[in-house]
Amino acid sequence: MKELSLNILDITENSVKAGATLTEILIDETDNLLTIKIKDNGCGMNEETVKSVVDPFYTTRTTRKVGLGVPLIKLAAEQTGGKFSIESSVDEINHGTLITAEFVKGHIDFTPLGDIVSTITTLIQGHPDTDFKFVHNKNGAAVSLMTTEIRDVLGDVPLNTYDVIKWIEDYLFEQYNEIH
């Protein structure tokens, strides 16, 4: 992937597919580290599935199609000298998945975050009925968005209404301008 924001889009699509009603995208950035956390309350995965999702060559008795989304973000993190971890639970009440990827920004193989605003608006455009929480902490300042707050105001107007998507885009851009 050319930008980490595309990896984020890809991973978050999995969360939505897993039936998550809330997916949190949390980015923590300091001078030398960028940490991405994607946390969902979807169906979760058992241990075997987690293994096969992380390692596409790990085979289980039941041959099932696994994609390359998770291995790609893991590789992108590890090739900068960063870390990757995944926790998942299929517990009846506390089901969900947390993916953490840490990147060393100064490393030559670090891929820039890129157009994260476009990733957020794309997610909301495609999944107007599920909720997203986005927080990007950068050296003490933060950019954030919660679709639940937007939904409270909009009532039954869908979040993928063009004007709403534009509002969200501007809202995020303005916040980024303030912290830069």
């Binding site: 992937m1 595309l6 889009l9 890809d10 699509e13 597919k17 994609g67 390359l68 989304g69 790609l72 157009d115 476009s118 990733t119 608006t121 794309t122 455009q125 495609g126 999944h127 107007p128 707050e149 937007i150 105001v153 909009l154 009532g155 039954d156 107007v157 869908p158 993928n160 209404t161 063009y162 004007d163 709403v164 998507i165 509002w167 501007d170 809202y171 303005e174």
Partner: protein, 123 residues
């Protein structure tokens, strides 16, 4: 600064309009957004459709949605256009520029751009 009050204004404006739910238009544009599609550039293609449909005033008629893997990764970004009573059109190796053209000529003008379809790329 943008405020939630502006959202209220959008809501009030929408009251007079027919609220368009995903897939309720006459024409459905579906963009493949699995790993292969995203890596190949599906995000700007999707956004070009969203922008183009709005700019051409087609929002009442055309809905733009996303799907997972369409199963032809070598042709990504892939876009399918569904229209009642017509055969599905599959556009392949899309770019934002091609998407703009599809909005104008196909979605607005009613003419399929055959050279961008999968049929043309298989020849």
């Amino acid at each position: 600064m943008k405020s939630l009050a502006e959202l209220q204004a959008i809501k009030d404006k929408m009251k007079d309009k027919v609220v368009l739910r995903e897939g309720s238009g006459d024409i459905r544009v579906v963009v493949g957004m699995a790993t292969c599609g995203i890596a190949a550039g599906a995000r700007p293609v999707l956004n070009a459709f969203v922008e183009g449909v709005n700019a051409e005033g087609l929002s009442e008629k055309v809905s733009v949605s996303q799907t997972g893997c369409i199963g032809i990764c070598q042709f990504e970004p892939v876009v399918e256009v569904f229209e009642a009573g017509k055969e599905k059109v599959t556009y392949v190796k899309m770019t934002a520029e091609k998407a703009k053209e599809v909005v104008e000529k196909h979605l607005k003008g009613g003419n399929v751009i055959s050279e961008y379809t999968i049929a043309a790329s298989k020849l």
